[in-house]
């Protein structure tokens, strides 16, 4: 046996040695290649704000496969289940393929000419009563076209995106702390941090690729501590080292508790605070000036300390339910300058009736402790939509903004925009428009009772499902014949139920596009397949209506030289009538719109590169600054000298858009407050709403994808097993959830995907048949005007 084994080994070695000798004398052979006829091109994923790049496989004019893009820094070849199935979103059998007009209560097919004429007549009749309700899913050029159309063309600021429901508090948070919107850090922080704090952020389901980017570090043997601070145990909690469960709305108390400990133990960073920070609090008189609620009033460091005095760990425990020793643990972590701490949050902070304050306090504890400006040390907000940052925030499709972070209320900013748009001074209306909640409330109110919005054009979003308290803010439109709702979408939705005119849109790779993700990354793609039937680009729809208004004699559709607002030339210098659909793709309208928009981007140092740079890249993070050698360099860490070219040499950290104009950021104090509606004897439960892994937002796309639908076919209400036992509910039984706004029947899931604590309920909002927003409250944050979807009082009963 031994001999045989030895013999085997010697035989193997002899063969190997002979081969090695031969190998040493031979040249390598060329590898074989084959191609199975699929054309591949890059695009960012259509779904969330992570901004993964996918490779789209196209064969015979149809998308046939999707692959994670290995060249993409965001996802490095990996996707989530939605991303892998994103191509199927194009092929639901009930795609809208022709314009539909409601006649006698029924949506009937009409021609595009008729549709464009109908919209134009509605606008001509009362331009000031027309509003656009847009989206963080608009591409950057689409949002830019709509913004220019209404602000420069109609001299109206009644445009707001669904991002008001999603990101508005993050925006006011950044603006009031740094004087300029969007995170200083980026996803690289996730690779470098020692501690990741997830503030009400179920990353494992909502930003899965970012989550596995962190989790996979553990697989590689790295040590990273995850802390989940939430109101309900989720999939994310199961991966976390610590789970801190707090009473809804008491997150402000926790952050004040951390600041209290840093001050008390003298463990804050005095050098950082003195050099780079001032202190602020909410103004005593918010009505003093239009900017007072956003910018607040100054307070001294001593006042700040005094304000924090009551937030001892024991007091915070009483307010939040988080044990005092866990508050101390958080305080010790922030006190430790050697470790790097990244905080992420999404809807937990933002959909919060004190959302702006929640954002401010989170930035505050990072600034106070000096956990800022080094890779891995960052407070970073995540977005839920693919271009919430790109289109809603950077293009400024909100009622108070102009592109590039310019403000409607600032006269200089208006003049700058008028200059770039080449329209006469004074064209832009100096008053901010109606924000989302006001827009829909006025639309649902009869004209004689002050309802000053008559027509709304909705693009790329589904307010009939996603607005809070739908009876008040959406469904009240029914039965008001003078109100006219226009909806551009790809499928029928809860919104088209009440629409008077439905326009079929092209989506994702059926059109050219650009998105901007959560980490300031601007991404570009080309159209790869043709849209079905008569579906057309959203930007084309806007330009076609603008042209019709121009032809009808609307003066605003011309610039000061008498030219149409959307005039584009081809390579030969000839004007191309892009409002004629067959000519729309004769030139790259996206590129032309982007190059014009780019002129706005330098004002707030959000510099964008030329369009062609984005064609080559898998996205670039702004500010993208041209180097001496002509190349374009992106910026990963804003305000930090080592990476941001706009920081003065030797400054270390420079907040160059500081509210106080002294290059300092603001540390805010905000008190912990009670929620607008808390559980009581009649409605004893907290009700929280949110998303699930399989479905994206209102589910109009993902519910048409068989694999995703099969996994999560309907909505449900989660409750604690003890509560269910007391009520006598069995798993899967249909129950009724009631709030002061109405009731909803849906099945109960006990010990399911998430685990709410006793006295708490959770309902996902993706299911249009089980509309949880029929019963949500929608109390808004006073600064950001963003509604709270995460808490109201509810009761349950057997159905």
């Amino acid at each position: 046996m031994i001999q045989r084994r030895e013999f085997n080994r010697m035989t193997a070695l002899a063969a190997a040695a002979a081969a090695a000798k031969a190998r040493a004398q031979n040249a390598p052979a060329a590898p074989a290649a084959s191609n199975d006829g699929i054309a591949w091109d890059k695009a960012p994923c259509r779904f969330c704000g992570t901004g993964c790049h996918v490779r789209v496989g196209v064969k015979n004019g149809r998308v046939v496969a999707i692959e994670g893009d290995q060249l993409a820094e965001v996802n490095k070849g990996l996707l989530c289940v939605k991303g892998y199935h994103v191509g199927l979103a194009l092929y639901g059998k009930d795609r809208l393929t022709q314009p539909l007009l409601r006649r006698n209560g029924v949506l009937e097919p009409i021609s595009w000419e008729e549709a464009v004429e109908t919209i134009s007549q509605k606008i001509m009749a009362a331009p000031e009563q027309f509003a656009i309700y847009g989206s963080g899913q608009w591409t950057i050029p689409e949002g830019y076209a709509a913004n220019k159309f209404i602000k420069a063309g109609l001299s109206s600021n009644h445009i707001d995106p669904n991002a008001r429901l999603c990101m508005a508090s993050a925006v006011t948070g950044f603006l009031s702390v740094y004087g300029v919107d969007e995170p200083a850090g980026c996803y690289d922080d996730l690779d470098k941090c020692d501690v990741l704090i997830l503030w009400g952020n179920n990353m494992a389901e909502m930003h899965p690729v970012l989550f596995s980017r962190v989790i996979d570090r553990r697989t590689r043997g790295e040590r990273v501590t995850l802390i989940d601070i939430g109101t309900r145990r989720t999939r994310t909690s199961e991966f976390c080292d610590h789970y801190l469960e707090f009473r809804p709305h008491s997150d402000l108390a926790i952050m004040n508790g951390i600041a209290h400990l840093l001050i008390k133990k003298n463990a804050f960073d005095p050098k950082f605070v003195e050099k780079f920070c001032n202190f602020r609090q909410s103004p005593k008189d918010p009505a003093a000036s239009p900017t007072a609620p956003l910018n607040g009033e100054a307070m001294s460091f001593d006042d700040y300390k005094a304000a924090l005095e009551p937030y001892t760990p024991e007091h915070v425990e009483k307010l939040s339910g988080v044990p005092a020793e866990k508050i101390r643990m958080l305080g010790d972590l922030f006190a430790d300058k050697k470790i790097r701490i990244t905080s992420t949050w999404c809807m937990g902070f933002n959909q919060h009736s004190r959302g702006t304050n929640a954002n401010r306090l989170c930035h505050g504890i990072h600034l106070l402790s000096g956990h800022f400006g080094r890779p891995g040390d960052a407070p970073t907000s995540l977005t839920g939509q693919p271009s919430a940052c790109g289109t809603a925030r950077e293009v400024g499709t909100m009622c108070q903004f102009l592109p590039g972070g310019l403000q409607i209320l600032n006269e200089e900013h208006r003049h700058e925009a008028e200059h770039i748009w080449n329209v006469p001074q004074g064209r832009i209306h100096p008053k901010i428009g109606h924000h989302t909640m006001l827009m829909w409330e006025r639309f649902c109110t009869p004209a004689e009772k002050g309802g000053d919005i008559r027509t709304i054009w909705v693009q790329v979003t589904n307010p009939g499902q996603t607005l809070p308290n739908l009876h008040r803010f959406f469904k009240a439109k029914a039965g008001q014949p003078d109100k006219f709702l226009i909806v551009s979408d790809v499928y029928r939705t809860a919104t088209t139920e009440l629409a008077d005119l439905v326009l079929p849109s092209a989506m994702w790779v059926e059109k050219n596009g650009m998105f901007g993700n959560s980490e300031r990354r601007t991404q570009q793609w080309f159209r790869m397949v043709r849209p079905p039937g008569e579906a057309r680009d959203d930007a084309w729809q806007m330009i076609a209506v603008a042209r019709r208004l121009h032809d009808l004699g609307h003066a605003g559709m011309k610039d000061k030289d008498g030219r149409f607002l959307f005039t584009f030339k081809n390579d030969k210098g000839e004007e191309v009538p892009v409002w004629e659909w067959p000519r729309y793709y004769d030139v790259n309208v996206d590129k032309a719109l982007f190059e014009e928009y780019r002129l706005f981007s330098r004002h707030k140092h959000k510099d964008l590169a030329p369009y062609d740079e984005y064609v080559k890249a898998r996205g670039l993070r702004w500010p993208v600054v041209q180097q001496a050698d002509g190349s374009w360099r992106e910026t990963k860490f804003r305000f930090s000298e080592f990476d941001d070219p706009y920081v003065k040499k030797g400054a270390e950290i420079q907040f160059y858009h500081s509210v106080t104009k002294d290059d300092k950021a603001l540390i805010w104090f905000a008190p912990a407050e009670k929620a607008a509606e808390e559980p009581d004897a009649e409605f004893p439960f907290w009700l929280c709403t949110g998303r699930v892994l399989e479905h994206w937002h209102s589910g109009s796309l993902t519910r048409r994808i068989p694999q995703l639908h099969a996994s999560m076919p309907h909505s449900y209400v989660e409750m604690h097993p003890e509560d269910a036992r007391e009520k006598g509910f069995t798993n899967g039984e249909t129950i009724t959830v009631r709030t002061r706004r109405g009731g909803l029947r849906l099945p109960v899931w006990i010990d399911g995907r998430g685990h709410p604590p006793r006295g708490s309920l959770f309902i996902p909002f993706f299911d249009e048949r089980l509309l949880c927003n029929d019963i949500t409250l929608g109390d808004i944050d006073p600064v950001s005007k963003q509604p709270d979807y995460k808490k109201c009082a509810a009761a349950v009963a057997r159905a």
Binding site: S34, R62, V81, P208, D216, R235, D571, M712
Partner: protein
Amino acid sequence: MPAAPKSSKRIESGFIAGGIIVLVAVSGYFVGLRQTNSAISMTRPVSVVRKHAQSAHAEVKDVPVAVRYIDQDWSAHGSNAQWRNSLVDFQQFPDAAPGQQAAVPLEVKMAALHARAARRAYDGAPPTVPHPITQDSSAACLACHGQGLQVKDRFASKISHPTFGGSCTQCHVPSGGAFTAADAPVLAAALTGNSFQGTEAPPNGPRAWPGAPPTIPHRTLMRSDCMSCHGPKGLFALRTPHPERQSCTQCHVPAAANDQRLFMPAPPLDAAKTTTATPAPASDPAPAPLAAPPPKP
């Protein structure tokens, strides 16, 4: 095996001892995985919810005695119907002896590919999970799929992308629904059909000449471990006839076009891709940004 003891003459006993250590470590690891954090920390009580009608206060008379759980024939239920809840059946069969094995008839192979395709939207899509899963923790998946497992005639395939092993449920969702409500038939009705037609898995890779090793006909991203499908725990008709040759890609080469190594942009669908447009009114230069220091060299 990198962990094998060095220069010990008692090779076999060393192997046995090492094997036991590894076995204990591995099983301990999986036992740990099976317990979720909440189960370990006992924060969530395990409880059975019953209807009021079944509470102990009700007078029991002429009620048929319920069959005990242990006596019920679970084998007739669910997607794992072929499994047997008997511990003796959980022993692992030794892998087939190496060496040339009989070729699989084409129709058997096609049937296997068809079964495989039924769980995927297109070739390359993450397969859906054909059995119920725990909602809490994806790590439990690796207890069976980490190394692959055979239970009677069912095979749990080995993970094909071990470097992405953190969060399984991120990509793999149960095909039978995460949760079934009492009125599931009504609620689960699909909105509409979907006309997407994905790429199919190619049955064969081309060979340079009869007898040459076939090239890899499919893309290899997220399929870095060939043995997941082609190993002894893979789909029967797809298994390699020579598992003892440990370096698959030495003889079977993937095509560069399948592998993101050769990035060929799609041909232009529109003239617009090559024709530039300029916004007409941008006649004046852009206003200078406010207080912008010059970029660093």
